[in-house]
């Protein structure tokens, strides 16, 4: 089922929790709403579920406008952040709840619940009370309960945030596996960019109720459109420069900061200044100023963190702003001490320019 949001706005008093958001979520997509707390992602999800009425805009499931369909008739399956298991019902009864509400005959309920229990690996726990389950098991019950009604759309509100780090990784792979198996359109809310990248087909980054960027994980990572998207999705060095020229034939920008000249790939700049987003692992440490062409500059090591497979330096950068560099698989002899000078190169051929 395709989900289409058109100009959705949701107000809480004077606060625009969701501000004019339009999105299309394709059939069978695993779509993630990503953003910091308070960015409106949960509000948007709850609006889709029908717990909030949007103040403006339209929500469509497929072709059908569902703005005025009450929450209990939207045929969505929702997994809540705290699971919201019914504490007075057993695992089996929790999962069967939605089927009973739909007056499904008993034998079929037993069959479908049995099947989903197997799929989420809860065999043998049918008669347990939710309070007697571990966090991961509760999570599986919540997932099974949402899926067993064969919903058109699966909604998940930070489903992994209450689990410990290791379990979180296992569960997200499992959620992804089941989602692919069933081919169900899924809208997933999280504030964890790594989790978002790991599971999603597409991601929407939200900031203060507004949409920052929508795209596949790699698309956003390699080509962030805004400073916010760049910094929220992974880490990035933001560097501002003055434009000194534009070579239309080769799509190259000439720029300058702190007396240092740079040559960058990019479209025609819209103003006299440009902003770059440079991932730490894109920056190369070089032997000296003549080592490999353009964009080489010196810096002093301010601090370094050795992480085994990688070493991370903080280096004095252009305009006095520190730059973070990650060197992967460093040789022991190459490790620099604090205070040493180091030459590094910004990649000349990657698109670095972002909208500020």
């Amino acid at each position: 089922m395709r989900v289409e949001l058109t100009n959705i706005t949701k107000l809480f008093g004077p606060l625009k929790a969701v501000d004019n958001v339009s999105l299309t979520i394709g059939e069978g997509d695993f779509f993630t709403l990503l953003g910091p707390s308070g960015c409106g992602k949960t509000t948007l999800l709850r609006t889709i579920a029908g717990f909030y009425n949007p103040d403006a805009g339209e929500i469509r499931f497929g072709e059908r406008l569902i703005n005025h369909i009450p929450a209990h008739r939207r045929e969505t399956g929702m997994v809540f952040q705290n699971y919201a298991l019914f504490p007075h019902l057993s695992v089996f009864d929790n999962i069967a709840y939605g089927l009973r509400a739909r007056k499904i005959p008993k034998p079929e309920i037993a069959l479908r619940v049995g099947r989903i229990i197997k799929n989420v690996q809860l065999d043998g726990l049918e008669n347990r009370a939710p309070s007697k389950l571990s966090g991961g098991q509760q999570q599986r019950v919540a997932l099974a309960r949402a899926l067993v009604i064969s919903p058109q759309i699966l909604l998940m509100d930070e489903p992994l945030s209450n689990l410990d780090a290791k379990l979180r990784v296992n569960m997200r792979e499992e959620i992804r596996r089941i989602q692919k198996e069933l081919g169900i359109t899924t809208i997933y809310v999280t504030h964890d960019q790594e989790e978002a990248m790991a599971v999603s087909d597409r991601i929407a980054i939200l900031n203060r109720g507004r949409l920052e960027q929508v795209g596949a994980p790699a698309e956003i990572y390699y080509r962030p459109e805004s400073r916010f998207a760049a910094e929220f999705m992974g880490s990035s060095n933001i560097i501002e420069m003055d434009v000194t020229g534009w070579d239309e034939d080769h799509s190259r920008i000439a720029a300058e900061t702190d007396g240092q000249r740079f040559s960058l790939r990019g479209e025609k700049p819209s103003g006299p200044r440009i902003t770059l987003s440079v991932r730490p692992e894109w920056i190369r440490v070089v032997a000296g100023p003549r080592d490999g062409g353009a964009n080489i500059l010196p810096g002093t090591v301010l601090s370094s963190t050795f992480l085994g497979s990688m070493i991370r330096y903080r280096i004095s950068g252009p305009g006095g702003k520190p730059v973070v560099i990650e060197v992967h698989d460093p040789d022991e002899g190459d490790i620099r001490k604090d205070g040493e000078t180091l030459w590094y190169q910004l990649p000349p051929d990657r698109p670095l320019v972002i909208r500020d």
Partner: protein, 549 residues
């Protein structure tokens, strides 16, 4: 969705209407009456002037404050060490002592008063025994008896509150103090005691409140020692064409005190409470045998003295009696036979009224709790104030207010059983709301949303998911409502009329006329009716019911 909210709005309005007519309006009515000259019908300060002018009335106020203060001091003196000993030291039979130690606050105070009359009254068992060997023991009548009964019945409140505070202290708190170089006594006086002080203060306020609003004890053993609640009742009852203004004025003075205490408690003391999440409770120490024995003796002794009167009443009920003279040692079932055959009506009345009031209270409690917890806002704040208000009104005052208000006019309820039910349910519903809403607070709203999301409409989701989860709180609340209604004397005595006398009224009147035998039979039925449901609930849910009073 919108319809759903409209439904709740209609319910909200209905609840406000009920609360207005059952709580606020009657109070305003007697407030106004207290400023009206009953002869001329004009505005007048005469009643308040009379109160201030005649030492007789002022003495009532002084007496009330005197017995309440003294009882509070004694209740603290017993309750604080009781709590400390039980939560910090190993004592044999600790659980039984703890459970029995909370019982007095559920058992009706006027039955306690009756027991001490049986023991130390004019024809009292002990009084005669000691007289026989030439010792005159001090009279139980007057303030001494009142303070004795109050202290023994109300110290458990101090005990419960202080133990709750003690159990909330994390071990690391005292360890930190020790680590910083404080000795044992210094730790106690600089850390432990200050941390439980708000609880002690709360306990003191509750006890003071219960003393000053109590009617049964001073009316039974106070004799010439008049207190405010009793005097207000007297003015009202002897009224009949007499002085509603004076009864109103006395009620207002009592109301000002109880309301003041409640506000002080809610906005000052409660705010001082330290909230802690105790991961490791304080260590329970094992003392050497002599100190252990002394502590045990104190705790067991207190419980024994507090519960002994109720045993006395139960024994009296199966003892041959003739008016106030009891032939202890001579067994007889005559009292019960009389109660069940000749005058069974009060028994029926009590159970009927308590059950009806409880059933209404349950529904009311569920709805109000839901509104309070789920539909937060200015309106729910107002609702909270109004619905809890009866907890700050003395039973006598509420009785007088209701009786005076619905005596004439469009709605006449005075002289019907419905006014009793109204008074009971409005006075006891707060208990149900407390137990139900505290449980509801623990249920995340998403549980309800999960049900809606799975296809069950909102109201049905509430019934299928929220209600079952709230059930333990509803049951606990219902039992508290039921047992406290059964034991309610102060408002009943003002509001009942002839055929609708309850067991409490019957006990009260029989004691008044010196008929201790039949009084004890009804009292025994009452004690058992109160204890059985509490016992069952305690067994089933393991809940300490007294703590939710």
């Amino acid at each position: 969705m919108r319809k759903y909210f409209q439904a709740w709005n209609i319910i909200l309005v209905a609840i406000f209407v009920i609360l207005f007519f059952a709580v606020l309006y009657p109070i305003l009515y007697i407030f106004k009456a207290s400023f009206v000259n009953p002869e001329t019908g004009a505005f007048s300060l005469k009643s308040y002037a009379t109160f201030l002018h005649y030492p007789y009335y002022l003495r009532c106020l002084r007496n009330s404050l005197f017995v309440s203060t003294l009882s509070t001091v004694f209740a603290l003196a017993i309750g604080i060490p009781f709590a400390f000993f039980l939560s910090r030291y190993r004592i044999p039979g600790k659980n039984i002592i703890r459970t029995l130690g909370t019982l007095p606050l559920i058992l009706p105070t006027f039955i306690g008063a009756e027991a001490w009359l049986i023991l130390l009254g004019r024809n009292g068992l002990f009084a005669k025994m000691f007289h026989g060997i030439g010792i005159e023991i001090p009279s139980i009548y007057g303030w001494k008896g009142i303070v004795l009964v109050f202290t023994l019945q109300f110290f458990p409140f101090v005990f419960l509150m202080v133990s709750a505070a003690l159990n909330a202290i994390d071990r690391s708190l005292e360890e930190a103090a020790t680590n910083l170089g404080a000795g044992r006594l210094r730790v106690f006086f600089t850390v432990t005691l200050p941390v439980v002080t708000p609880a002690i203060l709360s306990g003191a306020l509750v006890v003071f409140y219960l003393c000053i609003e109590n009617f049964g004890v001073p009316v039974l053993i106070g004799e010439d020692f008049r207190v405010l609640s009793v005097q207000a009742y007297n003015e009202f009852i002897s009224e009949l064409g007499g002085n509603p203004s004076m009864a109103g004025a006395l009620s207002m003075i009592l109301l000002a005190i109880t309301l003041g205490l409640t506000i002080f408690q809610k906005y000052w003391v409660e705010r001082k409470n330290y909230t802690m999440t105790s991961l490791n409770p304080l260590e329970v120490k094992r003392l050497r045998s002599l100190p252990t024995f002394l502590i045990w003796f104190f705790c067991a002794g207190v419980v024994f003295v507090a519960l002994f009167p109720f045993a006395v009443v139960m024994v009296s009920s199966i003892t041959k009696t003739q008016g106030p003279v009891m032939y202890f040692g001579q067994f007889s079932l005559e009292n019960f036979i009389r109660a069940f055959t000749i005058a069974p009506r009060p028994i029926f009345n009590s159970f009927f009224l308590a059950t009806v009031a409880t059933l209404i209270g349950i529904v009311f409690g569920i709805v109000v709790s839901y509104l309070l917890v789920r539909k937060r806002g200015a309106v729910s704040y107002l609702l909270d104030l109004l619905v809890m208000l009866p907890l700050a009104i003395a039973g006598t005052v509420q009785g007088i207010a209701l009786a005076a208000t619905y005596n004439k006019g469009i709605i006449v309820l005075t002289g019907t059983w419905t006014i009793l039910v109204l008074a009971y349910f409005i006075r006891k519903a707060p208990y149900s709301i407390k137990t139900t809403s505290s449980l509801l607070q623990q249920i995340d709203p998403s549980v309800e949303e999960a049900s809606i999301n799975l296809g069950v409409p909102p109201v049905r989701s509430f019934i299928r998911v929220v209600l079952p989860i709230m059930m333990p709180g509803i049951i606990a609340g219902a039992i508290i409502m039921w047992v406290t209604t059964l034991a309610e004397l102060s408002s009943t005595i003002v509001l009942y009329y002839g055929p609708w006398a309850t067991m409490t009224v019957e006990i009260f009147q029989r004691i008044g006329s010196g008929d201790f035998g039949p009084a004890s039979a009804y009292a025994t039925i009452l004690i058992i009716s109160v204890l059985i449901p509490l016992f069952i609930l305690n067994r089933v849910s393991g809940k300490d019911l007294a703590s939710s009073l």
